[in-house]
Chain length 251, copies 2
């Protein structure tokens, strides 16, 4: 239940190798504005923490089937037995604590960098993050919010109807719809800072200001914050055994 003693919690998932990049500035701007607004902010800094994105046997300390690797079978077993690798467990705990998910990354090849794709592949495991019948409007993350913050090399024109990449909504369909909305997150419009390597310092400053304004609106929307007080709507909705248990212990 959000309150000064128990604020709304944000998780920033950040995927850029260079600490002086514009993406890093987007990440720092997010942390600053959210903390100023009274939220608790955690950061998964995938490059700095050397996150391993290659999904497979190393996600787990146990094996459901030693003879044949079927990813979802192993994930479900690991979820039931709590046999995820320490790295995956740490990330799942961060995910379990969060009300608001902020993904900050450069657009590479029309999508997320591999290190962030692997965070989805590995951390958001079957059983933990979704299940049969628990997707989209029935997803475990219903009531929580998610937003993308992206820097691109290409100009806005390229991401428009008739532009070479197609509308930005088409380019991001795989991320916005098949990843965030799949989880059940209520998504905001992606924040896209176009052509950041080529625009002026003023434009970059303007991007950061707009991003902060947008983000604080998302994070402090009174109706949404109020909705987080309803049990089993947002907080604790991911009501599978351990997350619920962990969450309960934390309060």
């Amino acid at each position: 239940m959000p309150s000064p003693q128990n604020p709304v919690r944000a998780l920033v998932i950040y995927a850029h190798p260079e600490p002086t990049s514009f993406c890093a500035a987007l990440k720092d701007a997010a942390i600053a504005v959210l903390e100023r607004a009274g939220l608790t902010v955690e950061v998964s800094d995938l490059y700095a923490e050397r996150f391993d994105p290659v999904g497979g046997r190393r996600d787990f300390v146990g094996k459901a089937d030693p003879a044949r690797f079927h990813y979802q079978t192993e994930q479900l077993t690991a979820w039931k037995n709590q046999t995820f690798s320490p790295e995956i467990q740490r990330e799942q705990e961060r995910v379990s604590r969060a009300d608001l998910f902020i993904f900050v990354f450069p657009l590479w090849w029309g999508g997320v960098p591999a290190i962030l794709k692997g965070w989805f592949d590995r951390v958001l495991a079957y059983g933990f993050a979704y299940a049969d019948g628990r997707r989209y409007e029935h997803g475990y993350f219903n009531g929580k919010r998610g937003v993308l913050a992206i820097s691109t090399g290409g100009t806005e024109h390229r991401f428009s109807e008739g532009g070479s990449y197609g509308p930005v909504s088409s380019v991001l369909h795989g991320v916005q719809h098949c990843m965030l909305e799949y989880l059940g997150l209520e998504t905001a419009q992606p924040f896209v800072a176009y052509a950041t390597p080529r625009v002026s310092e003023e434009q970059r400053t303007q991007f950061l200001r707009e991003w902060q304004e947008r983000l604080v609106d998302i994070a402090t929307d009174p109706d949404w914050v109020e909705s987080l007080r309803r049990p089993n709507v947002a907080r604790g909705a991911m009501g599978a055994p351990v997350v619920g248990g962990e969450w309960a212990k934390m309060k």
Copy 2:
């Protein structure tokens, strides 16, 4: 110039951790049918070869700017100076040799597994695979062909208009349009084997047969094979310094 002495060359980029998976069967079926049709086939087996998908400093043995990492700047410098890491060089040499690119992978979170995303991020570097003004219809890969072969957990209905994921063309826009077509590849319709874990053995056999028929049509289309004889249209079109040189040496 394709001929019995110099056949059309295919590169299969394969990304699944389990050798008994249906994806492995799609990969093996591709190799078999192409070799039977007289092509030369190479395979980048990303999991078996332990491909590292995390783009960054380790892509390079040199540094354009030791103080600040800007990916495309480092890629362009590495391309000019041939200072890519051995792993990236090996993959770029495979790419340079190929006329036909076949991507075989399971659809995870609406897209390619992280290990394959990282292959794009790292191997298909600025300078080597594209440049300003060398994208899409002007791309270095013009005249070459590319096709996706995908296994999904979800049923075909989910990937339709009104289905929960949206039309498969929307789901795959990021891969098909922003990756393959971006390079300049002439793309075929993606081959999608839906719900492979849930369908009958007969259906799986049928998928493999359809995939082989589709693929051999793409690979042996006489007009296309003929077009490969034209210099600077397909083979050698990626005419940047070293690839051209390497290619010339190989003939």
